[in-house]
């Protein structure tokens, strides 16, 4: 049997020690009439496959797929085709001591994982400017939902006499994130108000002000937003704070933190994001991880695992899980979240990737992305009939073009996976495409795309 090492003698010896005749005798608590018969009449899985057969099977499934390598690739919208360092694979996938360990509950034999989580938190601190980061959430969408819940808790705590149960989603937020926030709000009884983006692709500041009633506890924005436009975060913070509410910023392209103002400096209260861009493969959208950062005084309201530096009995530096009284295993129904298993290995990958890029590499990466994005904007909009949907707005790596609809098939035939058609995700009209650029996008790709649009 695959992966089971007991011989028949082993099994016989164990059964004898237990004092039963067969393994069946250990299942006396399952009524006989619903026990699955050993011949598998009820559970109809395939017969077992060996390494050879399963490899063949997986390769045959992959035959009917294509991936970013098969195209000049311009799709992003939350998952980006960056280069992933081989170091991330070697350390995170092939060193069994990270990938086959559990959550580091026992610090004395988990210093490896604990130290990397501490270093990961430190890197998120370096990127966001916030003193507190947790060890990661499931993804950007659920991180945003949890941040909204946390913002609500903070406001509810600060204004106990008021009922402030409205959450405002402002501007162009990734539709998958917005849908997730909506689900979480509905189930926990919070009211959701959506303030759509204005004609310029940004948060409509006047509409936001109107939505900021005294009931509003949290404003959530995305920057760079779903259309790629960099929001004026500082002024959104100001209007939010004028109403004594919390501002949550979500970031879908974490690499934008290489050049943009830190959320902490902008005055954001909680910053979350999707970390896939940093060291994680695309994998159809998961697993990657959500990052989650805030100011020090908010730490006791944060969800998720947090690691702290401490010492061992001899005074030697050591790391341990901290502040567990926020968490479900201690606080049960009063916990800040139900999260338990997170995406630790993906966070480790991000740490490795950030270290591999290093301070200088991360800056250079950001510059390359900006330069290539600018070249793409110039080249694509030089084509007759192609224009920016939101002209004169600052963008980092993504932008929306308007062109004639229905070109997708032709592009694919020419080996080009163009921008995401926005009508397909209900975020725009036919002929609008969200184009994403990474350091892997070449001039040749861009020129080819432009030629095909002409």
């Amino acid at each position: 049997m695959p992966f089971i090492q007991h011989t028949d003698e082993d099994r016989a010896a164990m059964l004898k020690a237990i004092g039963v005749k067969s393994i069946d005798d250990l299942y006396g608590d399952i009524p006989a009439d619903i026990r699955v018969k050993p011949d598998g009449d009820r559970v109809k899985l395939n017969p077992s496959m060996g390494e050879l057969e399963v490899t063949r099977h997986i390769q045959s499934l992959l035959k009917s797929t294509k991936n970013a390598n098969d195209y000049a690739f311009f799709r992003g919208a939350g998952i980006y085709n960056h280069h992933v360092s081989t170091l991330a694979d070697h350390i995170a996938l092939y060193d069994g001591n990270f990938i086959t360990a559990y959550t580091p509950y026992q610090p004395e034999c988990s210093q490896g994982t604990l130290t990397t989580v501490f270093e990961f938190q430190s890197c998120i601190t370096a990127l966001t400017g916030f003193e507190v980061s947790n060890a990661g959430m499931y993804d950007g969408a659920s991180a945003l939902a949890e941040a909204v819940m946390m913002g609500y808790r903070l406001t509810a705590d600060a204004f106990r006499k008021e009922t402030r149960e409205t959450v405002v989603l402002a501007g162009a937020i990734h539709p998958e994130y917005a849908a997730t926030v909506k689900t979480y709000c509905e189930t926990s009884g919070l009211k959701l108000v959506t303030v759509p983006a204005g004609k310029d692709g940004r948060v409509d500041a006047d509409k936001l002000k109107a939505a900021l009633t005294r009931e509003a506890s949290v404003v959530a924005i995305q920057s760079p937003n779903f259309y790629g436009v960099i929001e004026d975060v500082e002024s959104l913070v100001k209007s939010t704070h004028d109403n004594e509410a919390m501002l949550v910023q979500v970031i879908a392209e974490a690499v934008s933190l290489s050049v943009l103002q830190t959320p902490a400096e902008a005055g954001v209260d909680i910053c979350v994001g999707e970390g896939q861009s940093i060291g994680n493969h695309m994998f159809m959208g998961g697993p990657a991880f959500g990052f989650f950062a805030s100011r020090k005084d908010n730490v006791r309201k944060m969800p998720g695992r947090i690691v702290s530096e401490t010492t061992d009995r001899d005074g030697k530096r050591a790391y341990a899980l901290a502040l567990a009284t926020r968490e479900q295993h201690i606080r049960r129904e009063k916990a800040t979240s139900n999260i338990c298993t997170n995406q630790a290995l993906c966070a480790l990958r991000a740490l490795i990737q950030l270290a591999a890029w290093g301070k200088g590499g991360f800056v250079e990466l950001g510059r390359q992305v900006v330069s290539k994005t600018q070249y793409a904007i110039k080249t694509l909009t030089a084509v007759n009939g192609v224009e920016l949907a939101y002209p004169n707005q600052p963008v980092f790596n993504e932008f929306v073009i308007k062109t004639k609809p229905g070109l997708d098939k032709k592009l694919i035939q020419q080996g080009i996976m163009g921008g995401l058609p926005l009508d397909a995700v209900n975020m725009g009209s036919a002929g609008e495409y969200l184009v994403a650029i990474t350091e892997l996008t070449t001039k040749e790709d861009i020129d080819k795309y432009a030629a095909a649009l002409a």
């Binding site: 020690a17 395939n46 001591n97 943009l260 009284t325 591999a356």
Partner: protein, 499 residues
Amino acid sequence: MSNIPTNPADRLLFELSKPGRRCVTFPKLDVPEVDIADALKGAKLRKEPARLPEIGELDLVRHFKNLADKNYSVDKNFYPLGSCTMKYNPKINVTLLAQAGYTKAHPYLPEQDVQGHLELMWNLENYLREVSGLDEVTLQPAAGAHGELTGVMCIKAYFEAKGEGDQRTEFLIPSAAHGTNPATAAMAGFKAVTLKEAANGNIDIEELKKKVGPQTAGMMITNPSTLGILEPKMREIAEVLHGVGAQLYMDGANMNAISGIVQPGDYGIDVMHFNLHKTFSVPHGGGGPGAGPIAVRKHLAPFLPTPRIKKNGDGSFAYDYDRPDTVGKVRSFFGNFGALVMAYIYMTQLGREGVRRMSENAVLGANYIRVMLRDYYHVHHDRTNAHEVVFTDKKQDKENGVHTLDIAKRLIDYGIHPMTVYFPLPQNTGGQGAMMVEPTETESKESIDYFIDCMKKIAQECKDNPDLVKSAPHTTPVKKVDEKTASTNPQLYCSMCLG
């Protein structure tokens, strides 16, 4: 931050950093370089580069290698962490996953480009449907707790659709349940009502009957329970709940005991989650990622998150977003797809026979451990158990003043990762510290016997030299860690990363 350690092997990445060092280089820019401030006019920029470490490749590799070696892991150590199912993670899972067909698959590729991925998800859903005996499966939840939340949301939506949303405000949770259960109920807007178990650890049906009513939305039950024993009255429990119109949720974290033995659907449950990172060998990754698919009965299927995967008449696969009653999205895209691929490879390898054998051998090992150690440690329920067994420190506490945590730490000195400790909580284990042992089916008898020997030795040490046990571990890179200060005076980042 105190002094930087002299041995580079003991330093943090930030302490290894030196300006100008570098691993990754980029190809020369093939487009004109722009001035960032100029190109991003109107946007505020960073004042200084993020203070990431600057490090050469060998130092980076060595740093992580040294850290990896400080971990205990399934690849290196027996790891009988109860409730976590630390089984062997086949290497082929990782090898097959690390192919461009998966790593370079973008979620917004058109359907015709991802047919093999949709087929894999479709097949995996079918596998889980078979193992659960329920009607429909979603693979989207990222972990067990996320599956719980999704399942409880479906139940809530079901009652709202029936017009009973305002009435059904309570969820019953057995007192020994995992912390995620009550936390989930609360997150979904329910009142978590604790249900006390009977003295034998099973659900107390009379108590249950007293607590249910028109206000009950459902109950979350773990089977086998967190006390490591099968619940013999599952069908009766389901009947009691259904009798008042409520739903039964099964926490399937412990499916390693009963997969292929009984289809939980036959118990009458309405919804359950799987922890693919426990039962179906997705590596735990030091805390994740996992996957927590849920399986539901037909009446709850309309509420599952979108998209669902559907098979067209011509055999091709497609996303189905046309689900007007869906609870919505619980995360982005389709789930932890990479984790799903690994679980699928594992299940395909096990097949029908293998899944049953997996459970049988897991249960065999755990019962063997109970019997072999029952004279040395107090067994909380000394009766046939499932895939894990809960001991307590009653004997060592009373006789030697040694506690669960000490015993756990002493195991580390013998090269074994501690069992799960203090779960279930002392209130569920007679006021004593629990030691929950789950060997899994993939451990050899020799490894299990070595564990048994070590536990016997430790029992003797508790008598002969209790201080040796209480001051453990002695062989680790760090000695007993001051976890209290970590929480009272948290230091959450390296000071070198912030200006």
